[in-house]
């Protein structure tokens, strides 16, 4: 998207306009948006905004406790219904797809260790992963390829996406359940070679 759009947007929300007006504009924009919006995307529509993050937090505070909440997920903001009202809304919503145990574990490993290679995932799980497992996660757009590791074989790395954070209600990876404790216990340390070795000794029908 081109960036040279800023001139005329200033006229809409010039500096010094009442904060209330800005909150109204943010409300409308986030309400109508099809995707969660980053600060940059908001500014593309409203023009440069000083103190935008603070305004968003203020707006989120106004909605706290209401039936609709404003939340930040991976730097992007969106409205969603309050979690405690799920039972009212769920009945007509389709059931979310059930993930296989392998997919859930693989997703957790990627989320807690990212970026991580397939070999490392297999080392942690002690079993080869089938192609389908990663495909499911890629298709759900929760996981993305994230470059290659500069090591022998240059393995492809995987990491999570903003959609992953949004789906699981995480503002950032720091919100992953128990991540600080695991880090402190050394359980998120890089997978060492000995461990990889052990994993590679297992048979493979997958590759």
């Amino acid at each position: 998207m081109s960036e040279e759009s800023i001139e005329e947007s200033l006229e809409s929300l010039p500096f010094g306009v009442a904060e209330e007006d800005r909150l109204r504009a943010l409300e409308a924009l986030l309400f109508a948006a099809e995707e969660p919006l980053s600060l940059a995307e908001i500014e593309r529509h409203l023009g440069p905004q000083a103190g935008l993050a603070a305004s968003l937090r203020a707006l989120a505070a106004q909605y706290a406790g209401r039936g609709i909440n404003l939340v930040e997920r991976g730097g992007r903001w969106h409205f969603q219904t309050a979690a405690d009202l799920a039972y009212l809304l769920r009945r007509e919503k389709e059931e979310t797809r059930k993930l296989s145990r392998a997919a859930i574990e693989t997703l957790a490993i990627i989320a807690y260790h990212e970026p991580v290679s397939r070999g490392e995932i297999e080392a942690i799980r002690g079993v080869q992963i089938s192609k389908g497992t990663l495909d499911v996660l890629l298709e759900a757009a929760w996981v993305r390829p994230a470059g290659r590791r500069e090591s022998p074989g240059r393995p492809l790395l995987y990491a999570t996406t903003p959609a992953f954070l949004a789906h699981f209600g995480l503002s950032s990876r720091r919100d992953l359940p128990g991540i600080e404790d695991l880090k402190a216990a050394g359980l998120l340390d890089p997978i060492d070679d000995a461990m990889m070795q052990l994993a590679l000794e297992s048979t493979s029908e997958d590759e």
Binding site: K93, R125, V127, E205
Partner: protein
């Protein structure tokens, strides 16, 4: 059945998975370790090894076909056990205690990831527990092209088309010249009425067009040469670039 079978089960381990629902030997080890009902950090590796080896033995007695990696793990654990139990030189590498610790860490890590996955799945998930608007209007930016073209661009383009469309015609202008025949006739006629020497310039027409005068001079000069050759005129010149003089050929005495 403890867990759903997954797509990862190869044909060889199918029976094992179907019986126990384990995904590989590490998964089996973790399940056995959990059975000790202590924190994974407190686990007895020797006891775990025995449990695993017993499981494999039982499975074999039941004629369950075990995937090769279960057997590889069994062999590795048997080696680990002997290393842990038997007296050994101090500098043996790798140190069995360290190997045991590593195994323990692996189990902890797998357990942590399993736990993390479960906790992720239990969160308030979008589309299951919390909902977005079903059909947001969307925010749109319409790009309207403001075409940049000036009047000069326009007329220059048209000129260009026309220039391209009309193939260039090379016209050679008809120049006003005095042909040689005319010069011979004219010089012959004028010399006839001339008694004395006269400059060639005096035979030229008085027209103003310098191009024509130049042409006439050239033609008249050639005419004078021709008339001299045929004995009708005489030529004289005092030196190089001096005026060329001519007169009617005199009767030779």
């Amino acid at each position: 059945m403890l867990f759903e079978p997954t797509s990862e089960t190869g044909e060889a381990e199918r029976l094992v998975i179907d019986v126990g629902g384990w995904e590989g030997p590490l998964d089996l080890l973790l399940t056995l370790a959990r059975g000790q009902k202590v924190d994974l950090r407190e686990i007895s590796i020797l006891e775990l090894v025995d449990q695993y080896l017993n499981f494999i033995r039982d499975a074999k007695q039941l004629r369950l076909e075990l995937a090769a990696d279960y057997l590889v793990m069994a062999a590795w654990l048997a080696y680990l056990k002997s290393g842990l139990l038997l007296p050994r030189p101090a500098d043996i590498d790798p140190d069995p205690e360290e190997l045991a610790l590593r195994l323990q860490l692996r189990l902890q890590r797998l357990d942590a990831m399993r736990e993390g996955g479960a906790r992720l799945m239990a969160r308030d998930r979008l589309g299951r527990d919390v909902f977005l608007r079903a059909s947001p209007e969307g925010i749109r930016t319409f790009r309207k092209a403001a075409w940049d073209a000036s009047l000069f661009d326009l007329i220059a383009a048209y000129g260009h088309i026309r220039a391209r469309a009309e193939p260039p015609v090379h016209l050679v202008r008809i120049r006003h010249v005095m042909p040689l025949d005319e010069a011979i006739e004219r010089v012959g006629r004028l010399v006839g009425v001339q008694i004395d020497w006269a400059e060639i310039a005096s035979f030229l027409p008085t027209e103003a067009d310098p191009a024509y005068r130049r042409s006439a001079l050239a033609s008249s000069f050639v005419a004078a040469l021709e008339l001299a050759r045929t004995g009708k005129v005489e030529l004289a010149q005092d030196g190089a670039f001096a005026p060329l003089m001519l007169r009617k050929a005199q009767a030779h005495v």
